[in-house]
Amino acid sequence: MTQLISILTTAVTFGTVIMYGALGEILTEKSGNLNLGVPGIMYLGGISGLIGAYLYETGVGAANALPVVGMIIAIVCALAGSMLGGLIFSFLTITLRTNQNVTGLTLTIISAGIANYFGGTLSKMAGGVGQISVAATSSAFRWTQSLTDGWGEFDTLFFNYGFMTYLAIVIAIVLSIFINRTTKGLNLRAVGENPATADAAGINVTRYKYLATCIGAGISGLGGLYYVMDYIKGTWANDGNIEALGWLAVALVIFATWKSLRGIWSAYLFGALCWLYYYIPGLTRSTQELFKMLPYVATIAVLLFVSFRKRKEDQPPASLGLSYFREER
């Protein structure tokens, strides 16, 4: 039982990181923009939030730092940093009509460089590798309040997480309502399916694409922030983990078949699949690596299944990955 609880809580915390990344990417892809820069954007979100919190905590002194203020600063910085990444991507792909795959990959390269550069510099400023820590801010992110005190395992399973874990679920629900139940959401889907038709219907394609990509980037960036502040407790490591998580987020978008509600449980399932090897007895160092393959194999299975069934509701947006130019029909 304790092992089951343990794998479930691991799945939730790990899954939340990729859920943010995937939710942002779902919004972006609904506008027809395939942003392969998600890992980079998560990097930007994480490092911007960390820089903001670090400057605040060292500015006022670690003893005087108010956790809530640090938290707000970190969130604002993370949103600003990751949305800036989204803006660069939007400008290049929407206004300058560059190839989305290539631009996204470049964004990932440059953002990883920026994040690791500043991560390294901050560590040096803080006195060496692994020395950087924004304890006060991180404590606000990891603050928990149980509503079912003393319920034992139930309590551990549902109320043992920082607020951003629940925020991810809220964002998923809001996104789902927005995309499926509002006029603006309908317009957005029209842009992603067939921009020429949307344009003819008087929808401002450029504005929808820009907004969806930038806001999507902001949500993805929160994933990086959650990872830095909650998952690794307000520190930094140049170990490329955020990048790996970012690619998992791209996979999760497919696994959830571009539906944000489905993204919630799929994210937790991904989290469980990623850590399953840890709970299976008798694995060698070698065979456990085969188990870590599971999320990717599952994603390919979903890809094949979806294209095999050809259900309209499960398909990617029809114009995904294509630039739109009005005069080119």
Partner: protein
């Protein structure tokens, strides 16, 4: 009818119909020059160093000694090989993001042959041929799986090939503990370090990089000819422009997709062989190290012209190596290896953006009647 000039948009964009060769290259050169200015500013802002001196340091760090120069040749060869491999896929508008994985399985195959066939006493040339074939087959298989599913189920190839990268990486991590040497290091270590069986050449400093360059240049020329002069190359071009036209012209699109992706994956697999047998003599997570992704950018920027790829690959490897040299030279000036990624990224963004000014014409409408054409 009176035209209201106030309501006209300030900027009007229209598609260019053909552009002179020199003009397009002038725009690209301007973009590179502009990006270098931005990089110079950035380096100055981060470290306070004189940017011109910094570029001098980069050049010295890459071309300064024969050894460094040959390392540059070696790494350019591998990157070029992957980019050339991607050319047929991209020309067909098949987004093969999986070069990383195809190269990695090629490397795994080569390493497996080196380790398990290395002590059978066969001549080195035979072993090398077996290794190369194994790599080519492995890469081809890795490339053809997403291609088949694209051809018959219309699966999104970008996402499928991306996932295949991670599966390849897990396979490598699966084999690493089995092949590890010395025990407990969790690294494969230098394979056949005493016998040097399965090495491209014993002379690491000069012969190996030149052999690698030679092989890759042959592949480059062959690919250029294949794409430009062969019937299959023509079919690839037609499928890339319009699948409907291809069907109308009785081209079997499914066959073309599967065939071209097999070739694409096979050449990426060959890059894995070169990397293992030539450059590293080991295999690790760094064997591909993101080069599969950078090669995509190389192939795209070169517009599938394999000769242009030589230039771009050489430039990117220069930037990467130069920035690393810079970081070690000025480590107390706040420069680290990560600056390499930033500089490469900035330059790539500018070259990417410059394509817009090559493909589109921009007209500025400034008030009544005044028109400026840029």
């Amino acid at each position: 009818m009176k035209i209201d000039h106030k309501k006209e948009p300030i900027i009007r964009i229209s598609k260019r119909v053909g552009i002179q060769f020199w003009k397009s290259w002038l725009i690209r050169l301007a973009a590179i020059a502009l990006s270098l200015c931005v990089c110079a500013l950035l380096i100055f802002a981060l470290s306070g160093l004189n940017p011109i001196k910094v570029f001098g340091t980069m050049a010295k760090g890459v071309f300064g000694t024969q050894r460094k120069l040959m390392n540059w040749v070696r790494d350019t060869s591998v990157l070029l090989c992957i980019a050339v491999g991607l050319a047929p896929a991209f020309k067909m508008r098949f987004w093969n993001i999986g070069a990383e994985g195809q190269m990695l399985v090629g490397g795994i195959a080569a390493a497996a042959c080196m380790i398990h066939l290395g002590n059978l006493g066969m001549p080195n040339v035979v072993l090398l041929l077996i290794m190369a074939s194994a790599s080519i087959i492995a890469g081809g298989v890795w490339g053809v799986i997403p291609a088949i599913s694209k051809a018959y189920l219309n699966t999104n190839e970008t996402l499928f090939t991306l996932m295949m990268n991670y599966i390849a990486m897990q396979f490598l991590l699966f084999f690493t503990p089995i092949w590890e040497h010395p025990a407990g290091s969790n690294k494969v270590g230098i394979i056949n370090s005493v016998t040097k069986v399965g090495w491209l050449s014993e002379d690491q400093k000069l012969a190996t990089p030149l052999i690698m360059l030679f092989i890759v240049l042959i592949v480059t020329v062959l690919m250029f000819a294949y794409l430009k002069y062969s019937k299959q190359g023509y079919e690839i071009a037609v499928v890339g422009e319009s699948q409907r036209t291809a069907k109308y012209a009785a081209i079997n699109v499914k066959n073309v997709v599967v065939r071209s992706m097999t070739i694409s994956g096979a050449i990426c697999g060959l890059a894995g062989f070169l990397s293992v047998a030539g450059a590293d003599h080991t295999i690790s997570e760094d064997t591909a190290g993101g080069r599969g992704f950078i090669a995509i950018i190389v192939a795209w920027l070169a517009k599938f012209n394999t000769f242009v790829m030589i230039l771009i690959a050489a430039l990117i490897v220069f930037l990467d190596k130069g920035a690393i040299a810079l970081a070690s030279e000025y480590s107390n000036y706040n420069l680290t290896n990560d600056v390499a990624d930033i500089i490469t990224g900035i330059i790539l963004f500018f070259i990417l953006g410059s394509e817009f000014f090559i493909n589109y014409k921009i007209k500025f409408h400034l008030g009544k009647g005044k028109e400026e054409i840029a």
